[in-house]
Amino acid sequence: MENNKEAVKENSMILQKDMIADHFHNLAQAKENGKKVVYTFVPGNLNELIWAFDMLPVHPEINALQSAMRKKSAAFVLEAEKSGHSEDVCTYVKCDVGMMKRGNIGPTGEKLPEPDLLLLSYTGCFTFMKWFELLKQEYKCPVVMLHVPYQAEGSISGAMVDYVVKQLEEKVIPVMEEISGKKLDYDVLKSYLSASNRAENDLVSVWNSARSKPSPIDAYFGGVYYIGPIFSAFRGLAQCEDYYRTLREEIDERVRLKLGPITPDGAEVKEKYRLVVEGPPNWTSFREFWKMFYDEGAVVVSSTYTKVGGLYDQGFRHSPENPLESMAEYCLGCYTNHNLPSRVDLIEKYIKDFDADGFVINSIKSCNSFSAGQLMMMREIESRTGRAGGFIESDLVDPRYFSAANIKNRLESYFQMIDAKKAGAS
């Protein structure tokens, strides 16, 4: 996802970089080539359906995080605040609005096309709704709402699936047919779903590799790169399958050689602490943030953020057998659509499955869907597992909310607390 000169490039990284460059190039040419463009969100995205209509997807959250990694988000956020947005609200939204106001230049420097459709996959995040209502004011293009009900009881009911499937059948698909001028070909959709399914198998194998000691991957900082293709524009495509097959082979090799994860500088991390992380990362100081972990030998063996686009590791797979039901279940199953008790259960399970020394919560100012209730989750997980929880606070793409000294202080204290506990126990 990031330009990175000094890093040692694995094949998978090169593949991913090329995929992204191609995609943004195609987007820049979309209007010339008569391609229709759909803006939609990562959680609960209907990628296979979009490709089945031969449309091109754009994910505003990804644009926002890319802007942050390229140090452009601060100006975008300010731009949005100047135009009347409150400093209190989500900075992804403000970054996107600011980027739009400044010409909508994408991460590769090419201009992003305007949307032909805003596909509002309203999954696990209230702000999504407002976000596209705001974009609607600017673009005056059709919006289709796909309301994905919340798993408030910790499970998916028949009524919930029916509700989503009916919206797909009667709202989403007809609008897409109209805009694309094509009838939905279910065979094409099924072939994309099958390809998704295969890539998902490989991704799960990558996640599970972290059970090895040492873990060959960092499932949070490295993990955000691993989810790149499957959470964004590429799930369902052959290139995506290639990427995950290649990645899986690389990781299998690291397991065989008993190697730890690689840092952005190309060095190998010597595993000292195994951690589970809850919450999205900070993007404005992503490298610095990661460094605070690997400098101390902290390796993330599992994370919840890497499940916002699907809990494949817990068994879900896209299925060509029942395409619409499968897509509905996918939307319903994203991490942020789970209630708090389920999230606590999941983190507890991760701590046990991956034999973690503890867990860290990165509490994000922008993201109430993640953050509201995290303090209680922490206490509950601590008492269930007896493992120490660390709590740090930052933001997605607003650099004003990343206080390096404060975070470093908390992390250091946290790691030393684990040491002291270990020393005390022995």
Binding site: H85, D88, L134, H147, Y150, E170, N339, N368, G373, E380
Partner: protein, 386 residues
């Protein structure tokens, strides 16, 4: 009862965070009580099942937060803190269940916290549909209503017949009518009807059994019409954005004393959420579903499907004769604050002035607000807008 007495009674209900009325009601009737958070739930189903629906709108400005802050980071609004504070200090023990309607992610997650904190209580997250097609969103909403109905029936032990439900709907239709009359009258003669009183009357509706509340409203209406107060040179304003966490009463009074007559607002919005009578001539649940889908207000937590953004607000400004809009929104309120730029743009286009500030339910100082809205009022008086 005279006005003073009515308001005193309402004020007592408003201040009583131990819910003395609810306790007494339960004792007297042997019924149960179900609490609910803002903005809207169909109270009719709770009522029909023999329980008292109790609107819980945070702890207000008098509750000191000792442990509630331990559950929330500093960038989260205030209402969940005070609600948790009340929960863990036992003030909400009197509720036999809690319903958290879909409004934002904070209240949604609060439902999960409630599930973990109060394992033996009925906790329901009411996922109000954002699809307004009767066959799609309507079908899902019906499922949600039936789910609540069966759970509350189980709690009260009362089987609910369609007739019971129709009866409850009728009572709530009467209540809605009474509230609407009061709002209409206020828009007409705002100098006679201070909003601080209207507000307390509405808040009383969160607690009182519906027939009792309707009667109280009627009494107030009768009395208030007798008032002989001359209008002052104030401007008429509509308040927007206060539908969840409530401003302290002192803030409402400060706005009124700054030269503004409040003729429209969206606090305690739940009781005015359905704008027309709910149909009782068909299957009652369909009536409730239809009311939500087609007769409900526009507000930030509800997806704007067909209408233009701001259309609803502009209409209500015109209908009530308001000369400006005050965006009065809780700090860190995602729905309200993300909605604001869209509404502001629509108002600008329509040539309606607005001003805007943020508050918290425990805000203690109102002088700066008062100065701001006073200036706003002056500018409208002098130049017809800012």
């Amino acid at each position: 009862m005279g006005i003073d007495e009515i308001i005193k009674k309402c004020e007592h209900l408003y201040n009583d965070l131990d819910f003395g009325y609810v306790k007494a009601w339960k004792e007297k009737t042997g019924g149960k009580a179900i609490g609910y958070m803002p903005v809207y739930i169909p109270q009719e189903i709770i009522h029909a099942a023999g329980a008292l629906p109790v609107g819980i709108m945070g702890g207000g400005s008098n509750l000191e937060i000792i442990k509630g802050d331990a559950y929330f980071q500093s960038y989260i609004c205030h209402i969940p803190r005070s609600t948790i504070e009340m929960g863990i200090s036992g003030k909400l023990d009197v509720m036999d269940g809690m319903i958290f309607p879909a409004i934002c992610d904070v209240i949604r997650n609060l439902s999960g916290m409630w599930q973990m904190l109060f394992k033996n209580k009925y906790v329901k997250y009411l996922d109000l549909p954002q699809n307004f097609d009767p066959e799609i969103g309507g079908a899902f909403y019906r499922y949600e209503i039936e789910d609540i109905l069966s759970h509350v029936s189980q709690i009260t032990g009362k089987k609910v017949s369609p007739e019971d439900l129709k009866h409850s709907i009728t009572l709530y239709n009467e209540n809605r009518k009474a509230i609407k009359s009061l709002y209409d009258l206020r828009a007409e003669v705002p100098h006679k009807i201070p909003t601080s009183e209207v507000y307390l009357l509405l808040r009383a509706g969160n607690i009182l059994e519906v027939t009792e509340h309707t009667a109280l409203m009627a009494q107030y209406m009768t009395e208030v019409k007798k008032r002989d107060i001359k209008p002052q040179d104030n401007i008429k304003v509509a308040i927007n954005g206060a539908f969840c966490e409530q401003p302290p009463l002192g803030l409402i009074k400060a706005l009124e004393s700054s030269g503004c007559y409040i003729v429209e607002d969206d606090w305690v919005l739940g009781v005015r959420y359905i704008q027309e009578p709910v149909a009782t001539n068909k299957d009652p649940i369909s009536g409730l579903v239809d009311a939500y889908l087609t007769k409900s207000v526009s507000t930030a937590s509800k997806y704007e499907d067909k209408k233009e953004k701001g259309e609803y607000l502009i209409n209500s400004v015109k209908e009530t004769g308001a000369e400006g809009v005050i965006f009065c929104m809780p700090s860190f309120c995602d729905p309200a604050l993300l909605e604001r730029p869209m509404l502001a743009a629509a108002l600008t286009k329509a040539g309606i002035s607005y001003t805007s500030f943020k508050y918290a339910e425990n805000t203690g100082q109102f002088r700066t607000f008062k100065e701001q809205t006073g200036t706003f009022a002056d500018s409208i008086k002098l130049w017809g807008g800012v």
